[in-house]
Symmetry: C2
């Protein structure tokens, strides 16, 4: 438990739950970091395509970004409406489910889950990629660095949301301040120079055009630039972690995120056109990211440049954190609706949903390992999930307003959003299908089927075990108690005493087999057991001998119990298994584990009449006078000699 305390922090009681709630200052880093970080790669993704059409085409980044910004505002407004309409969280899943039905809701949930998963992998690989291009010596440790970062994020998140917020608060706000500062400075230069500023450090020369500028290119540039919008939905899914009044706090957080993102995207686009900044090929040496060129042109390569680039790397690495906040909450909502196993609905010792965090960590670790931690190979899988969720959510809001009636403006906003995000989804999926989008589409389909299968299994079990009537009890019918005995040691004696207490019909069964040297107890049974039982006023237990021809210990007892059950279908058969509890785990290597095998076999194959009783006998070291008498063992409390059964000193920490 010490290690667990160190890694995860002390357990937090339920009453402390309110203390872990947050406002916009922490909410922007925790839920918006993903969206903000995409400002570091979204504009560049659009410029990669425009640059291919030559220096004249780069200027088109402004209208393309204008459309993206408009779409972002529409999506932001729509999600702000969603937060008010659904204050208990759920985001795209809840909106789609409540308005468009279970199937569509699960489709939104599956899309969102895939998006969260890919965001972790892409953000970590992009951050580590930026780091290793700054420190080339680290390049051969790319994948281990990715996995180490993933492990660190997992532990931080398992400790709880407040610490996670603190750990990422500084770099996020630094990132925002630096980039807004650079954009502001650039705009000031631009105005001062009358639209033609001179760069402090000139950007790269743009290469010659290799592709004609046309509508299809602009559409693809728009689709690529839309990766800047991933993550905007996270706030609506995380409303319950805000302090009261939580819809207002969440709304302010979302507004802040969208406003900063709009400013960054617009500023970057305008300055890129003014300074003539295009994208360079990331696979070639001497690569310079768009942000790096832009900050260099505006502010030179001084301290400000270094701080800004450091913040960009940190935020890219940490933007995975948004998924660690969102994914477990999505899983929790699904588990509460019984589309996922119930473990996802239970918060752990630190009041966070540990199962979801661990599943996200394992899956994204596999994804990173499978794609070698290379961002370029992961990107084609990305964005399909996010835009699927956007589209379904907006479509759900359209239906919402239709049902409510009388809000044509809201309906129009959402209808435009649904159409725009839907069109983007089609463009993204079509242009990247063979490069990897098919994997995401397949995963969404598989998750959708899994959710439904889980729900069906729960429903079937529920229907089979449900009973609302008063308890039905027949005539009193004591169970037949079967006690397998190896020899008459204290372990078996304790089991026999308990058996005699609970039923007048006790049978001992001894299995004799070659290689298991056991003394046939028939001769001494009357003197050692039946006689004393009769003398003490109990019905004497019978001894039955079973000879095993195949040197098996378990099957003969299971068969015996089943045969006894078959003789009277109205009676329970309880098999009492004596078991020695050892001092040390490695002592269990000395035993044949017949008791464990017998319990498992009886549990799964005994049939509905057979119950299993486990009678432990503790062979523990005696410390601090923990010696204890045993029920029904009158000599024990007097003598208490060597070989006395002793209680475990204290509950085992694992179960404490």
């Amino acid at each position: 438990m010490r290690l667990a305390n160190l890694l995860l922090g002390r357990a937090i009681p339920d009453r402390a739950a309110g203390q872990e709630r947050i406002g916009p200052l922490a909410g922007v880093p925790v839920l918006g970091l993903d969206a903000l970080a995409s400002a570091a790669y979204g504009p560049e993704a659009a410029l990669v395509l425009l640059t291919a059409a030559g220096s004249a085409a780069v200027g088109h980044v402004v209208p393309v970004t204008a459309v993206i910004v408009a779409l972002l505002v529409v999506v932001g407004v729509s999600y702000r409406q969603t937060i008010s309409a659904y204050p208990n969280g759920g985001g795209s899943y809840t909106v789609a489910k409540e308005n468009l039905g279970e199937g569509v809701g699960l489709l939104a949930a599956a899309s969102l889950a895939v998006d969260y998963l890919l965001n972790v992998a892409v953000a970590i690989s992009a951050g580590v990629g930026a780091l290793v291009s700054a420190v080339p010596a680290l390049h051969r440790h790319l994948l281990p660095l990715c996995l180490a970062l993933l492990a660190l994020l997992t532990v931080v998140n398992l400790r709880g949301v407040r610490e996670a917020g603190l750990a990422i608060l500084v770099p996020t706000w630094l990132f925002v301040a630096c980039l807004l500062g650079a954009v502001g400075l650039g705009i000031a230069h631009l105005v001062a120079a009358g639209g033609h500023p001179a760069p402090l450090v000139p950007p790269r020369r743009l290469p010659a055009a290799v592709e004609p500028l046309g509508l299809w290119l602009l559409l693809r540039a728009f689709a690529s630039g839309c990766t800047a919008m991933t993550g905007v939905e996270t706030v609506s899914n995380g409303v319950p972690i805000f302090r009261e009044p939580r819809t207002r706090e969440a709304g302010r957080t979302l507004a802040t995120i969208v406003a900063v993102l709009v400013a960054l995207l617009a500023g970057v686009a305008v300055l890129a056109r003014a300074y003539g900044i295009g994208a360079t090929d990331a696979r070639e040496p001497g690569y310079q990211s768009v942000l790096s060129q832009l900050v260099g042109a505006v502010a030179g390569r001084g301290v400000f440049y270094g701080v800004t680039m450091g913040a960009v790397v940190a935020v890219l690495c940490l933007s995975a954190n948004a998924s660690f906040a969102g994914f477990p909450r999505l899983c929790r909502v699904l588990a509460q609706d019984r589309y996922l196993p119930e473990a996802f609905a239970h918060s752990n010792r630190r009041l966070v949903y540990g199962t979801g965090i661990l599943l996200l960590a394992v899956l994204s670790g596999l994804l990173l390992a499978g794609f070698g931690g290379i961002t370029d190979r992961l990107i084609p899988l990305f964005a399909v999930g996010a835009f699927g969720a956007f589209t379904l959510s907006q479509a759900g809001m359209v239906r919402h307003w239709k049902r409510q009636g009388g809000r044509p403006a809201s309906l129009a906003v959402n209808a435009v959003g649904a159409a725009a995000t839907g069109a983007t989804l089609v463009v993204v999926a079509a242009s990247k299908l063979l490069e990897g989008a098919w994997i995401s589409i397949l995963c969404v389909g598989a998750l959708w089927a899994l959710f439904r299968a889980v729900r069906r299994a729960y429903d079937r079990a529920e229907a089979a075990t449900c009973d609302e009537a008063p308890l039905e009890l027949g005539a009193r019918r004591p169970p037949l108690v079967l006690v397998p005995v190896k020899k008459l040691d204290k372990v078996t004696r304790k089991a026999l005493r308990f058996a005699l207490e609970i039923s007048p019909e006790v049978r001992a069964v001894q299995v004799l087999a070659q290689g298991y040297e056991r003394e046939d107890l028939t001769g001494r049974w009357e003197a050692l057991v039946a006689g004393p039982a009769r003398a003490a006023g109990f019905a004497p237990p019978r001894l039955e001998i079973v000879r095993s021809q195949y040197r098996r210990m378990v099957a003969p007892i299971v068969d015996h119990a089943r045969a006894l059950a078959a003789t009277d279908r109205e009676r329970f058969v309880a098999v009492l298994v004596p078991e020695l509890i050892e001092k040390r785990w490695y002592h269990y290597l000395l035993h044949s584990h017949t008791a464990t095998a017998l319990k498992v076999a009886l549990l799964f194959e005994g049939g509905p009449q057979v119950l299993v009783i486990d009678a432990p006998w503790y062979l523990r070291e005696r410390r601090r006078g923990a010696r204890q008498p045993l029920p029904g063992d009158p000599g024990a409390s007097r003598t208490g000699g060597k070989g006395r059964e002793t209680a475990p000193d204290r509950p085992h920490p694992r179960y404490a």
Copy 2:
């Protein structure tokens, strides 16, 4: 079970045990292959050293081999006496233990175990080495080939000794016939040519001397040549597998092995001197083994040469089989004396000691993998174990004759043997200590300590649980039965019915915690449970509500049970755990496994008064009308509707 049948063969009942016993025809391959195969590397090991002293020194192989042969005869005679004196097997371990005490006996057992283990690794690597030098294309698969061969031997041996004997009978006798034929032909040539025969294919030219001939060199040549004697003790350890009269059959088998080995060693030595055959360097290209040169010189490179060399490769590979016969039997004897876990004493479905076979396979697999399957690197570890066991066994026989008195000849034979093998042990250990013998010595020591620790643990448990008096029973005191309930479904109802049958004092406990949405049953308890119980004539069970502050389900119930136990030290507390048995293993992913965690926690931490009762409720698919009524559920047998508990269709094959 189908796969198991295919791999291991059908289960064999006890009564078939006699049918698996063998005579000398199968006994020589099964128990003597190891000893015979060493004729392929023993003389060569001696010649490697003598060749270093030049062509004149090669002739000294005859006196060196004469000493080895004499020693072999002494050891053989000694072991034949041992077989008569100890007809139940045990070999070196039994002889040393009975005559020199437990500690020395365990030392012999540990030495023997290490010898068996190394024999498997060396024989497999030598056989595969011979194969890959014949087919160089296989060289890069050296280790996988070793491990595949090991796996094959393991499966063959798990099927049982008779099949193993058949599988190796043909190559062994072919090997013996070919080599004896070659030796006989060579002797005939030798006599016909008056001591100076002309080789059909001339052997390699001997290199110039690099070391002077002296006593130390002769001693080392003798020590290396003694590797030809490893495996001779196996027969005395395997006496019980022979058919009656087993001492005579075993004695004939040992005599055959020793006679063949003496003929081969002496013949090879005499012919090597006559033809001037020396050892060539195995690490250089164009390497020719001594046997290959010898057969070529005597019979040319025809069909006979090919058949003989094929038999040599096969026998080297298979000589590992002797360990697969001997090691599990040694483990069995140790387990019967409780120096090893009892599982080693139990024969499996095919009447063989599977645990020992598997342990040998795993350990020798690790050894092969650790040393890359290279014979040269394993050889320095070898022979220490064998000569340790020889020495202790002969010393034990000396003590044996002393005790019996009046057999000075036998005593002298064993005294000479003990002195000779002891001296050899010192020479072998000293000359190879740093090359790897230290590993063997360390392993022998570790095994010795392990044997004693196992025995101590058994003795302590035995002393603590032993009780020879009649069963003591106090006044009748029904247990308190605690039933943890989640909700009042059929699973819980069955548990409550059983609880009411076995005790008048039943308490239900419901744990309520955040995140676990459970309906507080307090309000409906009287109507649904307590009332109906009272009406049916049972003491009504009480419901207790426990609120968990840390979202834990298990710890509150364990604490509750321990607290109830503390209120009355003379009463058992039985915790009845209702458990849903699912249809498919993957359905268990849907559950939190609270029942399993609770059972484990109660078993290990409940204390001596607490017992655990497992009440399974089967959610199985209904086929072939397996519907069954439940005890104490009068409505059930009439309605039998949907959601009825059904029996498992048939015992699970794993337990059948």
